[in-house]
Homo-oligomer: 740 residues x 2
């Protein structure tokens, strides 16, 4: 019921929905850079901009789009586009829905009259924008204009973006800032506006937010009443993470069915960058196939292994190096300038990690491009995995280092840091500045302090940066651009604005400068946060409480970010949070190992000083193994139980499929059945033939070929068969009486 309300809000297509009216019914804006003034403008292309502009506008026209050109200022033109006619839009809607049906995304074919179909399933803003976007970007062979910004022949096309619906944005933010819970109705609103991919992110973060209350309560209880590194808490936390992930899988299916996008990932968006090795005509389908051999891609993918090892070692070495310096400076070194030198590691880390990360991410992107994926989804999945590895190291390695190297082996290893000490002595320093080797004691509170840093400080800093940085960056970039343009003598002011459009065009030029929203960045953030919870929360049980508070703000902050600091996202479809799901599973698994190790090592430790005592290596191994296998068992049981409990989504899907089947069977069987029944009635039971007396008894030998006919004619209809049976029974009884 609630869902219907949302749907009826969307209007038919006879007139564009009111939301578009505020934007003069513009659907997309294409930024065309004719002057090489911009920071990212392409050079080296010799065709004059006029020629490319003509080609672009002609291509758009052929694809069925109306265009209006206005000045974008700063050496750019703004090309406003809009679907040319309502008929064209209706055709696109129908075509897209039929394609969905054929790919198994929707159970039933859409109604043949599009108008009827639209009444039953109104067009949402999201669907409209998605369709128009595919008209602009799909290759010609699939009916689009094939505009790929900055690629191929479109070197001067800078970007394609949709315009914000400011009225809606205002309402949305106001609505969310006044309520605690985001319900299915709210998710549907997001889905209708920004597409399923973004709606899935919000669904995920909302479910994560609700689910966090369990480990938060557990953690609070553990914090107040249980000893530090309680195994009880670790087990509870680990089981929660399993249930959380498995239940989310179910929710994904339910949402996908509800939103009508289940299996939509099977329809692949082709990548414009895909380089085929050969173009062949498929002998069966007659389709042109762009072919790139799978074994080649597999070989290229193998480069990932040395890359991952290299990247991991790079980062690990930096982190371990800085860590050693820090330990040395903070806990060993007693020399001059200690107060200032203490901050050196933080500075070193803050500078080196982002630089190295950026370089490695660049490598990862190059590598993923080299792997040459045919589809957008597999490309994104491959890139996501690589980025996850990098984030994993930078995010979790420091804690692993402290927990599993520094604390258990610190007393053995730290004195080796004295090579520096020796160097210092060498340069003539006094020995009193350093502690003696034997006097060193590890600082067990360091682990908790580090954890709190990652869980609280880093999250807050991240949130602030995420919210403020883009704005700052934009301002600086804009100034730089203007300065650059002015220096080169390019006009930065927009010209020829019709006065009544001035306000609108200024808004468009502002939005053109905004960044493109990438939902995977936000998903990654949540996934990394979940990792701290599963891997390390025994260190500081109220981790989940801190996340709970953080995410309450995060959800709203992300909404504000989309509305105010980013261009309106292109509404893409998705039927899942994609590769992050695997990473969540991976983190729960690793959590089972890490928690067990933490609990085993630290629960016996006297936290006030010295490393844990009475530990054995086989004890550690045994606890880790036990925990891991309990995890496997629990995951199996949970996912089995989930699969057996009725799912709303699957149930709906089943029902829809059933209805389609039933309708089809009724339509096409009616006649056929009737015919068969008539024939049956005419012939059944009306054969002529001999009665029950065995057919051979007249003494005439039967030809072998005749035998079957004789056999079947020997009993004419089922009543004859009954008589024959009764006769046999009677005969046997008589015989028996005789013998008795």
């Amino acid at each position: 019921m609630e869902a219907l309300k949302g749907a009826t809000k969307a209007t038919g297509t006879n007139s564009p929905p009111p939301h578009f009216a505020a934007n003069l019914d513009v659907e997309y804006v294409i930024v065309f850079r004719y002057a090489n003034a911009g920071v990212s403008a392409q050079t080296g292309d010799s065709t004059p901009p006029e020629e490319q502009l003509e080609k672009l506008l002609h291509t758009l026209d052929l694809a069925g789009l109306r265009t209006v050109v206005r000045d974008g200022g700063n050496g750019t033109l703004l090309i406003f586009t809009r679907i040319r006619s309502e008929k064209k839009l209706l055709g696109e809607i129908y075509r897209s829905r039929v394609r969905d049906w054929l790919h198994g995304i929707r159970p039933a074919a859409p109604e043949k009259e599009t108008q009827k179909s639209l009444e039953r399933e109104p067009l949402t803003d999201g669907e409209r924008l998605r369709l128009v976007y595919s008209l602009i970007t799909l290759p010609n062979s699939e009916g689009g204009a094939g505009i790929t910004p900055k690629q191929g022949e479109w070197t001067l096309v800078e970007s394609v973006f949709a315009l914000h619906d400011r009225e809606f944005n205002k309402k949305w933010l106001k609505d969310w800032s006044t309520k605690w819970m985001i319900g299915p109705e709210d998710l549907k609103v997001i889905r209708d506006r920004f597409g399923e991919k973004i709606a899935f992110y919000f669904a995920f973060i909302q479910w994560y937010f609700i689910a966090l209350s369990v480990p938060a309560a557990l953690g609070l209880f553990a914090y107040l009443f249980l000893p530090a590194y309680s195994s009880l808490f670790a087990i509870g936390n680990c089981l929660w993470s399993v249930v959380f992930v498995e239940y989310w899988k179910r929710q994904e299916i339910d949402l996908a069915v509800q939103w009508g996008v289940r299996h939509c990932s099977t329809v692949q968006r082709k990548r414009a960058e895909f380089q085929f090795e050969a173009e062949a005509t498929d002998p069966v389908t007659g389709e042109k196939i762009r072919y790139f051999p799978a074994y080649k891609r597999l070989t290229r993918q193998l480069i990932q292994v040395p890359f991952a090892l290299f990247a991991a070692s790079c980062l690990a070495i930096i982190i371990a190096g800085v860590f050693s310096i820090e330990i040395f400076l903070v806990e060993v070194y007693q020399g001059p300038l200690k107060v200032i030198l203490k901050f050196l590691p933080t500075v070193l880390l803050s500078i080196s990690i982002p630089i190295v990360s950026t370089i490695l991410t660049g490598f990862a992107t190059k590598l993923t491009e080299f792997e040459n994926y045919e589809n957008q989804d597999s490309y994104e999945a491959a890139l996501t995995q690589k980025i996850f590895v990098l984030n994993f190291i930078t995010g979790y390695f420091p804690l692993f280092l402290t927990a599993f190297v520094y604390v258990p082996f610190g007393e053995v290893l730290v004195p080796y840091l004295d090579i520096l000490n020796v160097t210092v002595q060498h340069f003539g320093h006094d020995e009193k500045y350093t502690t003696s080797d034997t006097g060193f004691q590890i600082n067990p509170s360091r682990l908790k302090a580090q954890m709190i840093y990652f869980v609280v400080t880093a999250q807050v800093v991240g949130f602030v940066l995420e919210t403020i940085l883009p704005q700052l960056k934009r301002t600086v970039f804009k100034k730089a651009k203007e300065f650059d343009s002015r220096r080169k003598g390019i006009n930065t002011e927009a010209v020829l604005d019709p006065p009544e459009e001035k306000k609108f065009l200024d808004q468009v030029r502002y939005e053109a400068e905004l960044e493109v929203y990438d939902v995977t960045v936000d998903l990654r953030e949540m996934c990394m946060q979940f990792g701290y919870l599963t891997l390390f929360s025994p260190i500081w049980p109220i981790t989940a409480v801190s996340f709970l508070i953080n995410n309450l703000i995060e959800i709203r902050g992300d909404a504000a970010k989309i509305c105010m600091e980013m261009q309106r996202p292109i509404p893409n479809r998705a039927d899942s949070i994609g590769p992050w799901l695997y990473n969540l599973s991976f983190l729960t698994w690793l959590g089972s190992i890490s928690s067990a190790a933490l609990v085993y090592i630290f629960s016996s430790a006297d936290l006030e000083g010295g490393p844990p005592k009475g530990l054995t290596f086989h004890g550690l191994l045994l606890s880790v193994m036990l925990s891991e296998h309990v995890y496997f068992g629990a995951r199996f049981v949970v996912s089995y139980a989930m699969s057996k409990i009725q799912s709303v989504g699957l149930e709906t899907e089943r029902k829809e499929k059933y209805m389609v089947r039933k309708r089809y069977l009724e339509e096409s069987f009616g006649m056929e059945n009737e015919l068969i029944r008539q024939e049956d009635e005419k012939t059944g039971g009306s054969y002529t033939g001999v009665g029950v007396v065995p057919s051979g008894q007249d003494g005439r030998p039967l030809a072998d070929g005749d035998l079957s006919g004789k056999f079947w004619r020997s009993q004419n209809g089922w009543k004859d068969s009954v008589n024959a049976g009764v006769q046999i029974m009677d005969y046997v009884k008589k015989q028996e009486k005789k013998t008795q």
Copy 2:
């Protein structure tokens, strides 16, 4: 091409295929027991057999079957059935194929004219028998006669079986006995005759047979050149098992696509025994739903856990007890009668295990029935899992006991067996008969001897029993029945046989006595065999060689068994070997642990005497953990690589789906497209409006509502937009020149 050859062999339906002619065109025989003479006859039913016979024949008639009744001897009637008319059969074929299409089993709907459809996809014997069988057994609501032997109202129906095609069987056995390899063509022949479920078994055993050559070669090499318990061999063997299982998964898909049964497991066969708790009418589909709550079943399934523990302990205690007695008698005991007493354990085990197994299997069946599954497949899967647990204990526990208890801890544990010794002393025996506690040494060759027993002796004995026992049982049973009947004065001889049918009816009566073939028994045997290979083959590397020889015979033995000692199997469909696939995966996983432990413990051992030395517990744990995680990694890599390499089956499926889509799009888009194009041509680019001069320049203030219209009309067609763009560029350039 090969596949087509097989298909064209099957004939259309105008006349029954020649194979049926030898059986007088009989499709199924129903055994109706009217006298309570049989061993398994039902008692306590008060309706006279005549009444039930009448009802039975009438029901069959209503379902569209012709019947002929003959005497079955021994208090039974034989009811021969045959589909009543060709029209009926055609209708059933069409209906079944449409149902398959709607369930996604076949990509395209069948041709509307069934005759055409049959020319393209001829009816095989298997399909014909399957359809007729479903006519006999499906519930009335699904268009069948609802005959469920010995159940519900059909207490006197003993069985429903098909007749062997003796001509084909002879050819088949002859063919297989003269060739080494069973190819895809042979599998297709089996599939066409006996259905996909049995064909999958033969496909599996054939693939297993071929794949065995790898570990056989490895094993032979290890046996000849490598030290005992070589880790190299263990790793190779383990990796092979991973590739074997993953590749089989692929083959299953390929075969399922080729045989047109992919996803057929989604169409569930309802169990007649299913007890519903409530019958409700589905509000959406209007279908009657027989409802049994999932949580109740989950609760009932939980009983499995104590049952499995109980069963496992029962068997384990018996095995361990007998094992202790054996160790004591063979290696410790030196008293009188040792020669005879030595055989006591074997006798004890041979008697107790089958008895306890049978009791536990009975329990397992009862439990599975109690779990009340709605569908045949889930019932079979649940039962299979329980049987697997029982088989696992009886099959592998003795070896686990020897390898991981007796050998490492024997010297500590065996002396405790002396409590018996003490008892013996107590009864006045001399001390010289027993060895002293300290003198005991474990016998390391025991493990290998035991392994050879399970791998060679037990397999051979099993094969012989499997081949001979049914025949023996049949003869004994028959004699007993006849004796029993004679004692009760029931006529055992069949009467009223038409003389020319005598030979045929004798053959039918013979086949009625045969056992029903259950393919899961044979699958279980192979799965257990695979388990010895993955779990224990480091003990005796040439295990695989022995299995290779065994299976060469086994395949042919199974074929002979089906032809000669079993009733003709009802051709069921399947798209996989079902739950055994999970068990195979499970065994490869356990193999990674077991092999690592075996290699770690025994590779250092001096096999000539004494337990292994220099072992540490953490060493064992570490090697097991390492091996297990390498296994997980390898499995992931192998399955990923497999998923990326083109699969014939998936490719075919994709192509077929594409063709269907293309056809549909062509059919239903033609018109729609044409309309849109016409409309586009008419309106596109022909708007009237102002040119490039901004629309507000005439000074008239525009109403806000008009703005959008003005905006879009400001450029009339794409050429106007180009001009506007060029004008802006020129204007900007001029401005720039001015400022410079």
